[in-house]
C-alpha cells in the first residue's frame, strides 16, 4: 500500500529518474489560509509525447511493454481526487515533465505527509549524480535545499560519501 504522501513523491521521482533527468525539483507547500497542500515535481528528463501524457494517468497504461504496469501517476491522481484536490501533468518530448497535485489539507482521507527529512535524504544520496532542488513551506516556515550549491564546496567528494550523508542528515534534522 502507498501509505503516505512521501511514498507518492518517491514514486513520481522514480519516473523522473527513469526519464534520465539531470535535475529534479520537488516543491511541497502547506497553505493554511487556503487549506491546500500541494506537491509539484518538475524534471528536465526525456518528457513524453501528447498521446503518452494522456495515457499515463490511466492505470492500465504503460510504455514498458510486457512489464508491470507503472501505477505511480494514477495513484497520486486518485489520492488528489479523493481529497477534493486537483491533479495535473504537463510534459514535452525532450524538455521534461511537471506533475502537480493538490489536496484539501484537512480532508479526512488525506494520507499523512510522512517523513520528508528521510525521504529527501534518501533520494539525494541514492542518486548522487542527479541535482535536486527541494523546497518546503508551511505557513511561516520555509526550507530550501539545492544540491548544485553543495557541489562547489564538496569538490570531488560525492553526495553519497558517508560523511556527507551524516552532514545532510543533521542539516535536514536541524533546518527542515
Amino acid at each position: 500500500m502507498v501509505t503516505d504522501l512521501c511514498d507518492h513523491i518517491v514514486d513520481i521521482v522514480a519516473n523522473s529518474l527513469r526519464a534520465e533527468a539531470k535535475h529534479i525539483g520537488i516543491f511541497v507547500t502547506e497553505d493554511f489560509d487556503t487549506n491546500r497542500l500541494s506537491i509539484l515535481i518538475r524534471d528536465d528528463g526525456n518528457g513524453m509525447d501528447e498521446r503518452t501524457v494522456r495515457g499515463v494517468a490511466d492505470p492500465f497504461f504503460s510504455t514498458k511493454m510486457g512489464k508491470k504496469i507503472g501505477l505511480g501517476v494514477p495513484l497520486l491522481k486518485g489520492t488528489a481526487e479523493i481529497c477534493n484536490g486537483e491533479f495535473n501533468i504537463k510534459s514535452f518530448r525532450g524538455q521534461g515533465t511537471e506533475v502537480s497535485a493538490s489536496f484539501q489539507l484537512d480532508h479526512p482521507d488525506l494520507p499523512p505527509l510522512g517523513n520528508l527529512k528521510d525521504t529527501i535524504l534518501v533520494l539525494l544520496v541514492s542518486n548522487p549524480e542527479t541535482d535536486f532542488t527541494f523546497r518546503y513551506s508551511a505557513g511561516e516556515k520555509n526550507f530550501a535545499l539545492d544540491t548544485k550549491q553543495m557541489r562547489e564546496p564538496l569538490g570531488s567528494v560525492p553526495l553519497n560519501h558517508p560523511k556527507v550523508i551524516a552532514f545532510l542528515r543533521s542539516y535536514l534534522e536541524e533546518n527542515l
Partner: protein, 119 residues
C-alpha cells in the same frame, strides 16, 4: 550548521576517496518501483543509507532502480561486487538489511536464507 561546513567535510573525505580511487567495492541497488515502495523499499533504502553513514562504509554505494519483475518478493535488493556473482535478496525489511550489511557487506558472507537468486 550550514552548507559551507561541507568544505571541512571535503578535506576529510578526500582522503577516503584517494584510498578507494573512486572505485566502489560494493554497489547495492534497491528496487523502488511502485510495488517496491508499497512493499516497504523506502525503509530498506533508508537503513542502507543510515548504516553506510554510521559505519563509514566509504567503499559501498547504494542506488535505486525501477521495477525488477519479481514483484511478489519485494522489497528486492541486488548486491554487485567486483569478481563475485551478483546476489539478489527478496522480502527484505530493515532488520534483514542490517544483517545483510553486517554479514555480507562487511564480512563477505552472503545471508543464504534471504537469497532468492544469484547471477
Amino acid at each position: 550548521m550550514n552548507i559551507d561546513d561541507l568544505r571541512k567535510i571535503r578535506e576529510k573525505a578526500e582522503k577516503d576517496i584517494q584510498l578507494r580511487q573512486n572505485q566502489a567495492r560494493i554497489r547495492i541497488v534497491v528496487g523502488m518501483g511502485t510495488s517496491g515502495i508499497a512493499a516497504g523499499a523506502r525503509e530498506v533504502l533508508k537503513t542502507f543509507v543510515d548504516e553506510i553513514s554510521k559505519q563509514n562504509l566509504a567503499d559501498v554505494i547504494v542506488t535505486q532502480t525501477g521495477e525488477k519483475g519479481l514483484a511478489s518478493q519485494e522489497p528486492l535488493i541486488e548486491i554487485f561486487e567486483e569478481g563475485k556473482p551478483t546476489v539478489i535478496y527478496g522480502n527484505v525489511d530493515a532488520e534483514k538489511t542490517r544483517r545483510i550489511i553486517a554479514e555480507h557487506i562487511v564480512n563477505g558472507n552472503p545471508v543464504s536464507e534471504y537469497v532468492i537468486e544469484t547471477r
